[in-house]
Each structure stands twice: as C-alpha cells, then as structure tokens.
C-alpha cells in the first residue's frame, strides 16, 4: 500500500475544539463526540456484520451520528452468514462494490490487509486511545500489518467448553475446570454410555468455518501450527501435534451426535440447546439462545476454559478478534465511516449496549467498558457471573486464532486457509473417509503448501 491516508478530517486541533464545544453526550467516554464537518452525501452506507444483533447495535450508533452530522446518510447492516463470507467477499470486492465498513474476524482481516484492500486506521487508534485494551490482548490481534493498524476492535469472542453441570453432577464427574484431554474424553464417554439419547460431546465436523475454528483450537493446544511465522511461513502442519489433535477428534467422534460430520455453527448450538449433547465447543451464543428457548438447559450450562492438553498444559480457545475495517478502494464514504465509527467507539453507552445485545457472546475490548458497573447490570451477570467472566476476561490468556498462529504474528494466509476449509477437510478425511491421521495431516499440509505457493507474494 503506497497510498497516503493523511487526510483524515479530524486533526488534533479540531478534535480538541470539538471536545471543548460539545460537553454534552453524557454517556460517552470522553464526554464528547468528535466534530465533523456536516456531510452532504446521501445514500446508504453498507456495513457488513456477522449474524446477530450486535452488528445492528453498532450501526444504530452510527446512525445516531449520521442524524447529527450527515442527515442524508443511512447506515445499513448486511448480515453475512459465516459460510457465505468468502463468496460475499469475492463477489463484492471483485464487483468493486465493497461495503463501506466491515465487521469481520481476524483471519479474514489479515488476508484483506495483506492484499492491500484495507485502509490503515492508526489515526483513529490515536483518538480511541492506545491504552484502553483489556489485559491480555494487543492491537495486533485484530489486525496489524507491517507496522500499521488496519482494524479497530469490535469485540472479542472466545469459544469455550460448554458443560451441562446437572449431568456432570448426576454422573459424579470431576469439575471441568480441572480437566485435561483425557478427562474430557472420559466424561464424553461416560455421558454417552449412561445417558440414553444424549451425546457426550459435540463439535462441528462439517466442511465449514466452524470446524476450522474448533479444530484450530485443539491444534493450538497440542502445540501445533499450520505455518511457521518465524520461518517464512513454511508449512508445519504435518507435525505430530496435528496428528495428535486429529487423533483426539477421532477418539471423541463416537461420543458426538451422529450428524456432527455435517455440523456447522447452527447445528452445534441446536444440539446443545435441544439437549442432545451434554457438552459442546461454542461461543457465548449458545447460552443466549438457551435462555430464550430452553430455560432449564440455560440454567444448567456453564462455560469453562478448554480442557488442558496433557503435555503442553495449554487450553487454547479460538477467539474471534472481531474488528471493524474499512475497504480502501471504491469506498465513497471513507470519511463518514471513520467519523461514525469513532463516534461508536468512543461512546460508553453504545459500547455497553453492544455487549449487552448478545450476552455473553460479545466481550468488551476496552478496559473502561469491561470495568463499568453498567456492564454488569445484566441478568446474565447475575445468574452466571463465573461463566460470563470466563468469556469476558479469564479466557483471554488462552486466546488463539489461526490469524496470529498462537499470537506469534499475523498470518496473511490464514483467511485463504479458512476460505477453503482446509482444516475442516483434513478433519473430515479422518472422520468420514477413515484416513489415517498421519496421512490426513500430510494431505492438509499439501493443501496449505499450495496456498502458500499461490500467495507467496504476500509474505514479502
């Protein structure tokens, strides 16, 4: 990216001026909204978000900004089903009609920024505040490439081990907090054997993103990786660690619902919420839906950090470092989006609303929000303080995602990998085609090598 982006309308002076002028806006952090010359642009500002209510809340904040500063604009959220992200990405960017703002998880963000499709936003980071992040995360986790920040954090969302404690107690199993992989396997087995019509454990095994993420967490716990960021991203997927993780999935498989081989996000939640499984890997959504549809299951379910790997002791979760990023090309609303996003990011009220919109899926990224008493003013916090806390804070030490490959540096190939469901396909080789894990790992490594070769230009 050689293009200059020094023309952000908010220079320091106007910012301070704005601060002084508008002392209102009670709930917002700085007690102000940055000033912005009234925009006369009209139209719909397209914003991509995940399925779920929070994207809508984020956009509602932006619309509030628009009412004051750009009355002709309307921000509109387009929810992109996870499995459709890559198709959407390709068609919209190739059609030169990208949205003006994207809320996306880090693997995709890293791919886009390495391809030069995103706008650097360091100027915004300065205004948001560099030292606001909750302990345990860094700006890099959302998207930093060659020294520039490209992504503004929206939230983080770890996937954890959801456990039906009523079943655990009934069967006299240990406290899941203390488990290692063997304990998890044992618990899954025990439940499957003792509880008719109930699977012990559930994760996604279909050819989709969900499986990629679920497996990545296991892989990382075992100490494995896809690429070696220290060595020009050489493929290291055909390692014993990969084989070990694959073996673990294979051992768990008999205690999962039969249909798990085609499960994606939806079905894993379904399985838990309808009581077909006692344990599952998932983000906070499961609890949100259980609270709506199945109160008893909601009450009995708690979330834990993943079972430890017996040797490494790691209990990595897949954490979507969900962030806002701005397409650099063919984007007619760059200034407006920046200002509106800044408005949302600096409004305590809106950030808390954002987190509250889907408890406990949407974890706050800023310390001031995480500590705010208003955040805790939610029925979830009252009924499950430990679980919510695990999602929001205590899981952070175990965060990982393929984008940063164990937090060792951004991986621009990660998005390509997940777009093609390479991990999921590797898993499927084992659970559907009964391939030996060693061979599956080799197959996966070959696929990854092809991706690396194809995109070697990104690695610089």
């Amino acid at each position: 990216m050689t293009k200059k982006f020094g023309n952000f309308p908010l220079d320091r002076r106007t910012f301070l001026g704005g601060m002084a002028a508008a002392g209102a806006s009670a709930g917002s952090l700085f007690g102000t909204t940055p000033s912005f010359g009234q925009s006369k642009k009209t139209g719909t500002v397209r914003v991509w978000g995940e399925p779920g209510p929070y994207g809508g809340v984020g956009v509602a904040a932006m619309n509030e900004w628009a009412q004051k500063n750009a009355p002709g604009l309307k921000f509109e959220i387009e929810t992109i089903p996870w499995d459709g992200v890559y198709v959407k990405l390709m068609t919209d960017l190739a059609a030169k009609r990208p949205p003006s703002l994207i809320s996306v998880e880090s693997p995709i963000a890293t791919q886009m920024m390495a391809e030069g499709l995103l706008l650097p936003v360091d100027d915004m980071v300065d205004k948001i505040g560099r030292n606001r992040l909750v302990d345990g995360v860094k700006w890099d986790y959302w998207g930093n490439w060659k020294g520039k920040q490209y992504v503004i954090p929206a939230h983080h969302q770890p996937h954890l081990l959801l456990v039906r404690m009523d079943i655990i107690k009934e069967l006299g199993l240990k406290d899941p907090e203390t488990w290692d992989w063997n304990d998890l396997l044992h618990a899954a087995k025990t439940i499957s054997e003792k509880k008719p019509n109930m699977a012990g454990f559930c994760m996604a095994l279909g050819r989709n993103l969900c499986t990629d993420y679920h497996f990545a967490a296991l892989l990382h716990s075992a100490g494995g990786r896809m690429f070696d960021p220290a060595n020009k991203y050489q493929v290291v997927f055909d390692s014993p660690q990969t084989v070990e993780a694959l073996n673990f999935v294979r051992e768990l498989r008999p205690y999962m619902p039969k249909g798990a081989v085609e499960y994606s996000f939806l079905q894993v939640v379904d399985a838990h919420v309808t009581g077909q499984t006692a344990m599952s890997f998932y983000w906070g959504r499961t609890l949100g839906r259980a609270a709506e549809e199945a109160k008893p299951i909601f009450e009995a379910t708690e979330a834990f950090n993943h079972a430890r790997h017996p040797k490494t002791g790691r209990r990595n979760n897949w954490n979507d470092f969900q962030g806002w990023c701005i397409p650099a090309q063919n984007n007619p609303f760059i200034d407006e989006v920046k200002a509106a996003l800044l408005y949302q990011q600096t409004s305590k009220e809106w950030l808390i609303k954002y987190c509250h919109s889907l408890m406990p899926n949407v974890a706050p990224t800023y310390k001031d929000i995480a500590d705010a008493p208003e955040l805790k003013d939610h029925p979830f916090y009252k009924s499950k303080p430990k679980t919510v806390d695990t999602y929001f804070r205590t899981s952070l030490a175990n965060s990982s995602s393929t984008a940063n490959e164990m937090l060792q540096g951004a991986n621009p190939l990660a998005g390509y990998v997940h777009g093609r469901s390479v991990l999921a396909q590797t898993v499927q080789k084992v659970v559907i085609d009964n391939m030996k894990p060693e061979d599956a790992a080799k197959w996966g490594a070959r696929e990854l090598e092809a991706i690396r070769k194809e995109n070697v230009r990104l690695l610089g």
Binding site: A94, R97, L266, V269, S357
Partner: protein
C-alpha cells in the same frame, strides 16, 4: 355388460384412485408440510408428535414477513433495537424478484419471437444455424456463464443492479425461448400471412395482427418457462447482487438460514410465499405448459 365385470371395474377404479391419492399425497407431502409448519406458532413447530394440521392456526409468520416485524433476539425483557433483520426485506425482495422475472421474460420473449419469425419466414445466410446454436446455448449450464457475465457486469458497472439480473436471465432463458418459438413459428402456416399481405396488410400489420395472435400459445408456453427459470434462479442472484436491498427472494431467503438460529416457521412461510406466484401461473396456464413441452423438451 354383466354385473361381475361391472363390479370388477368399480373395484379396479377404486384401487386406481387409492393409488393416485397415496402417490399424490407422497409427492405433495413436502409442500403440505411446509404449509403446515408455516401456520404453526413457535411452540407447536417442534411438538412431538408433530401435527399435520396445526392445533393453533396462526398467521404470525406471514405477518412477520409481510410487515417486516423483528422476530428473534428478544430475550431478557424488552426487545432490543438490533438493526435490520432479513424479514424486513422480504417484501422488497419479492418486488425485486417480480421485476427481474418480468423484465427478463419480456426481453427474451420479444427478442426470440421476432427472431423466430424472421428465421422461419425469410431466407438469408446462416438462418438454419441459429436453432442449432440456440439448442447448444440452452444446454450450457449457468455455472459456466456466471463468472464471465459477472466480470462483464463489473465492466459495465451494472453489478448490484436489477439490470444485471435481467440481462443475466435473458442469457439463460433466451436460448430455449428461441428454440421453442422457432419450433412454434414453423408450425404456423405461412399462407395465412400471405393472405393478409394480399388483403392489404403491411409486414408490420401482418406480424401484429396475424402472426402474434397465432403464436400466442407458444408465447405463453415460452413465457412460463422463462418465468420459472428466472424466478427460481439462485446462482446469478448470489453472485451479481451485493447489497441487501437489491437481492431477490431466492438468495434473500437463504439469509434466514444464518448463524445459530433458524426460525423454521418463518422460513417455511417464506417458502410458501415464494411458491405461490409460480403456482398461480402454473394452474392458470397448465395446458399451455404441456404444449410447450410438446414443442421441444424444456429446460430444467
């Protein structure tokens, strides 16, 4: 006829009706079940045993779709303002689908009718190659067309516009409209037109007053097929359209199938509403449909 054989005939007919009813039920069951689900309240959708005829009939799913009312993520007390939901766009998508379906059908039919008339009534170089060409064209699956056309739409700056779909659907419906109209035009005797020419009509009058009315059954048959193809398309809509406002029904409805929550009642109501226009068309024009099949096997 003696009474034994009359009895046998009655029994045979009764058996035939029985078989027919069973087969019809089995074939229609998916649609019946979709209709039934769409009329159930949330609490009954997952009831065991499932109920074929809903105990509590409700139109709430249809109401939600047609008024765009938000249906989920309402937990923990007051409903939250969570921005747009797919249901909100349903009527919009419906209108989009109607526009692109009618638009592309109109163009395909107009172009192919004129061309078929020209091919069967005038002599010039290459005229016998056109039907062959159309035949080939209508065997080419849309997956081959879609990306080149997409890149073309990008160049023409037509992506995300309903025009891109209208033109795209012309591309997949024109070949078989051409084929069908050509087959049909060939069967219209040329003498009728000559009689009109001698009676004093101009070529255009002949075309409008004599040929078009005679070709009407063919035009109707071709239109139905063109409409079915356009209305049912998923691929072009998926690739060509970027913003949620401009989606068509088929692609839009898949957005209900999102994330971690599927509202089956809503989805089935949407399915029913998507099927209704084609069903009405089908019932009204069924005999023309059969005529169309006669003129040449038709795409599907």
């Amino acid at each position: 006829m003696n009474s034994a054989s009359t009895l046998w005939k009655t029994v045979k007919n009764a058996m035939l009706y029985l078989i027919l009813c069973v087969v019809t039920f089995l074939i229609c069951f998916p649609l019946i079940w979709a209709l039934s689900t769409s009329l159930k309240p949330k609490s009954e959708i997952f009831a065991t045993p499932p109920t074929l005829i809903p105990h509590n009939l409700t139109l709430e799913n249809y109401e939600a779709l047609l008024t765009g009312r938000q249906q989920y993520y309402q937990a923990q007390g007051a409903p939250q303002n969570t921005g747009t939901t797919p249901a909100q766009f349903f009527t919009r998508w419906f209108i989009n689908s109607v526009i692109v379906t009618l638009g592309s059908t109109l163009i395909s039919i107009a172009v192919s009718t004129l061309a078929a008339y020209s091919l069967t009534r005038f002599r010039y170089w290459g005229r016998s190659a056109v039907p062959y060409f159309s035949l080939l064209g209508y065997m080419v699956p849309s997956i081959i067309f879609v990306f080149p056309l997409f890149l073309m739409m990008v160049r023409l700056d037509l992506t995300d516009s309903l025009w891109s779909l209208i033109l795209g659907y012309v591309c997949i419906t024109l070949p078989f409209c051409m084929w069908l109209m050509w087959a049909f035009m060939r069967s219209i005797p040329i003498e009728i037109e000559e009689a009109a020419l001698i009676d004093g009509a101009s070529r255009y009058q002949v075309f409008r007053q004599i040929v078009l009315p005679s070709a009407l059954p063919g035009i109707i048959a071709a239109s139905i097929f063109a409409m079915i193809v356009s209305w049912n398309d998923y691929l072009f809509g998926r690739v060509f359209i970027n913003s949620i406002d401009n989606l068509t029904l088929t692609v839009g409805v898949m957005l209900f199938f999102e994330g971690t929550h599927v509202d089956w009642g809503l989805l089935m109501a949407a399915s029913v509403l998507m099927t209704v226009p084609m069903a009405i068309l089908f019932m009204a024009l069924q005999r023309h449909l059969v005529a169309g099949f006669g003129a040449g096997a038709v795409k599907g």
